[in-house]
């Protein structure tokens, strides 16, 4: 047996705090999802398998806007792209090989990455990744189920749930807007989407906003990149 990890208690307390927060976030997802017309089973499937908040909200947001549900697929995927980039620091910490990659990958999200990279020791990093990942996964499912049951029992508009999705997106977006370039990209994305609302099928305006990110990202950089551990989690 190894020495007990000194910072174990601290990491676990933080992981539980993040998990409780995720449970509330999951409950709002569950309520919005059934309010958008997804079934209980579809809502739970998204939380279990997709298991990445922003993509799940985007999926139900676009699916609810009418038109083909397949328009929601690329929106969810494009928002999930950032998880692929978290794989770089996580691979350095956990060195997953073979089959271990298959289950490790599922837990590579904003919160687990932020927790893992912010620990001082390699053991602390590994412990933080799994403590956060497993706590958050369980509470995310519980929250989703509770929210979906509440959402089914009441008329979503009566409890103001139509304001929930835009408010959640704004809360996710807010910490990313510290740099001026980010604000311009946000403004550009919103304007492109709004301009396309009357002329394209539902789902296309949100997808088209990705072009703003593509153009801004490929322009020559004027300021250094933020490193991954300085980024706020969403």
């Amino acid at each position: 047996m190894d020495e007990p990890l000194p910072e174990r208690g601290m990491i676990l307390r933080t992981a539980i705090g993040i998990g409780l927060y995720a449970m509330a976030f999951g409950a709002s997802f569950g309520a919005i999802s059934v309010g958008s017309g997804l079934s209980l089973g579809q809502t739970i499937a998204l939380s279990l398998v997709m298991f990445t908040g922003a993509s799940q909200f985007a999926f139900v947001g676009v699916a609810a806007s009418g038109g083909s549900p397949f328009a929601a697929v690329p929106a969810a995927l494009l928002l999930g792209v950032r998880n692929a980039f978290y794989g770089v620091p996580i691979s350095e910490i956990l060195h997953p090989r073979g089959f271990a990659r298959l289950w490790t990958a599922h837990f590579v999200i904003d919160e687990t990455t932020a927790m893992a990279v912010s620990q001082a020791t390699p053991r602390g990093k590994r412990y933080a990744f799994w403590a956060t990942g497993l706590t958050l996964f369980c509470l995310w499912q519980l929250g989703t189920l509770a929210g979906a049951l509440v959402g089914r029992a009441v008329n979503p508009a009566d409890i103001g749930l139509d304001a929930a999705a835009p408010a959640v997106f704004l809360a996710l977006l807010w910490p990313m807007l510290r740099r001026p370039q980010a604000r311009w990209v946000a403004l550009g994305g919103a304007l492109v989407a709004l301009a396309l609302v009357p002329i394209t099928p539902p789902g296309i305006p949100v997808l088209a906003s990705a072009i703003v990110a593509l153009v801004a990202g490929l322009l020559p950089a004027r300021q250094p990149m933020e490193s991954i551990d300085e980024r706020d989690s969403a």
Binding site: S65, A163, V185, V212
Partner: protein, 103 residues
Amino acid sequence: MSPLWMAVIIAAVGCYLLKLAGVSLPESILNHPKVQRVAQLLPIAMLSALVAVELFDGGRAYSADWRTLAGVAAGVIALLLRRGFLVVFLIAISVTALLRLIT
């Protein structure tokens, strides 16, 4: 299987495969600065577009419910006051619900 179920499964498995790609691909691809910059800006442009569409999209036409707008505006005030996600969420839905109840 309904189209919505198929879309749910494709999107969910796709998001998992993106995570799997992250822990499997050679680092050199993901460490490219331009690739990283685009990846960092993607959620910013798209979340902002989602806010705009949620508030003003009436299905190929613009429409908005002032009660929803007021609720989200109250949420923005909470964000300016550095409140967390949960407070922002609760303020936005309660202001909207309240305005709907009294109007």
